[in-house]
């Protein structure tokens, strides 16, 4: 029998909250985390708003030895991993190191660190480049640092599929748990809010150039004009469900019941984008019918063509208005490879509390025919959630979460 994989720990670092409960309270209330970019001077650029994690002092959370060798987003990732393990009640030092692994997602690596060192190289010469540049700016750096810090030596890796990566990492972690691993740390914490990262975002052509946080990122809205880049994400602890119950895990947030990834046809081919296929395949993987899904967390790209494609895929599977849809990320901006993982964390909390958090600021355009949850959070009996994420370049991923009421009997 195929093993059931559940989430037993959650660690969140987001523009709307440090730590799971602070983030969740802000998300339920629809509080906004978008503002003027402050990590660098964005005044001279066409886009100036960002979703930044504020109030994070790395020295409060990490040993001093790690500070010279880590990018900002790696510090956030290490902290999120610590919180996820604490939440799961797991001390990795007491377990078989070869049975624990780390799979994270990344879109750029440690760009802020890398930019600083490239500046040293250019202005002062090769002797002035940090030895830590050898790994601090790589895609795989968060996986490496999390595994070193926690002594995990099992199956590990990194997925690079832009925003879809936050789901793909969890899919890969589930795969490893079904084979040989006993515990996986997985998810994405990402961000490249520095001039080098910023010009890369701008070159992609999907960034909002509006200056008002209230109107900058409005998916499924007639005023949609791109998104706001952001930083942060979530790291989750994944375990085999029976093993988690056996050890008396404090929480079982829910099961990763289904997952699928697809790739879009060549641009201009006229063929249907592959998001619908990802949804249908993930539902089959979960052995669920469309009518079994209680809420959809949308990718919410906020360009008219991509919003149309996502609405078409959702409506093709569920029927117009056939399922509540939400996109709490309008309060944070898009977190690159962290986005899908944060949405999974949010969906698990929604299942736990029976609350669909709103899509702040958006007035839904009727043409999309979605039941978009806007304004206030909506109370609902939730057992399942579908999370969608798309990555620039044609990546589509869908992940199905299911809660088992008997998993948390003792609470």
């Amino acid at each position: 029998m195929t093993r059931s994989v559940v989430v037993t720990g959650v660690g969140v670092v987001a523009p709307t909250g440090l730590g799971t409960e602070e983030y969740w309270a802000a998300t339920r209330a629809g509080r906004d985390g978008i503002g003027q970019a402050g990590r660098f001077d964005a005044a001279g650029y066409p886009a100036r708003l960002a979703g930044e994690v504020t109030g994070f002092d790395a020295a409060e959370h990490l040993p001093g030895r790690l500070l010279p060798q880590t990018d900002h987003m790696t510090r956030l990732a290490l902290t999120a991993a610590d919180w996820a393990l604490a939440d799961a009640g797991v001390r990795p030092g007491e377990r078989d190191p070869y049975a624990m692994g780390v799979v994270t997602a990344s879109s750029a690596g440690g760009f802020e660190f890398g930019q600083h060192q490239l500046r040293n190289l250019w202005s002062k010469g090769p002797d002035h480049v940090s030895a830590y540049q050898s790994f601090a700016w790589f895609y795989a750096v968060n996986t490496g640092q999390i595994s070193i810090r926690n002594g995990t030596k099992g199956p590990s890796g990194v997925l690079v599929t832009e925003q879809a990566g936050g789901l793909d990492a969890l899919g890969q972690a589930r795969r490893r748990l079904r084979r040989d691993a006993r515990l996986m740390l997985s998810g994405g914490v990402d961000g490249s809010l520095c001039p080098w990262g910023w010009v890369a975002h701008l070159a992609g052509g999907r960034i909002s150039t509006r200056d008002d946080p209230a109107t900058a990122y409005l998916p499924f809205d007639a005023r949609a004009a791109g998104h706001v880049p952001a930083e942060g994400g979530a790291i989750l602890v994944l375990e085999d469900r029976d093993a988690a119950r056996e050890r008396g895990a404090r929480h079982v947030y829910g099961e990763i019941a289904g997952y699928a990834a697809t790739f879009d046809p060549r641009p201009g081919s006229g063929r249907e984008p592959a998001l619908r296929s990802a949804i249908e395949t993930a539902l089959r993987d979960a052995d669920l019918a469309p009518g079994d899904i209680d809420v959809v967390f949308a990718d919410a790209a906020a360009t008219p063509d991509l919003d149309r494609a996502e609405a078409d895929a959702i409506n093709a599977v569920f029927g117009p208005g056939g399922v509540p849809v939400t996109a709490p990320k309008t309060a944070t901006g898009r977190l690159l490879a962290g986005g899908g993982s944060l949405d999974v964390a949010t969906a698990l909390l929604a299942l736990r509390d029976g609350v669909i958090p709103p899509t702040p600021k958006v007035t839904p355009a009727p043409e999309y025919r979605l039941d978009l949850v806007t304004g206030r959070a909506r109370t609902a009996a939730l057992r399942t959630a579908l999370v969608l994420a798309r990555g620039t370049g044609g990546f589509n991923s869908a992940l199905v979460l299911r809660s088992h009421p008997d998993d948390n009997d003792e609470e």
Binding site: G64, R65, P68, D127, S130
Partner: protein, 80 residues
Amino acid sequence: MPDRTITLDDLRRVLREGAGLEEEVDLDGDILDTEFGDLGYDSIALLETASRLGQEYRIDVDAAVEARTPRELLDLVNAR
């Protein structure tokens, strides 16, 4: 050869700046013969430290990274 003799305090400062500090390690204690690994510094930390010493004092970086303890490093870089 460096411009002047590099002291243990110089090394302490460069270690702190370049490679940070392990919480449980007292870098200001008697560390001359403690191995770098026991002070929380791995080979990359030592490379970074040697590289920074090289920028400041014109030392032989390749020789410095072979040192196992602060005493060995200071002897190597201060040697004629």
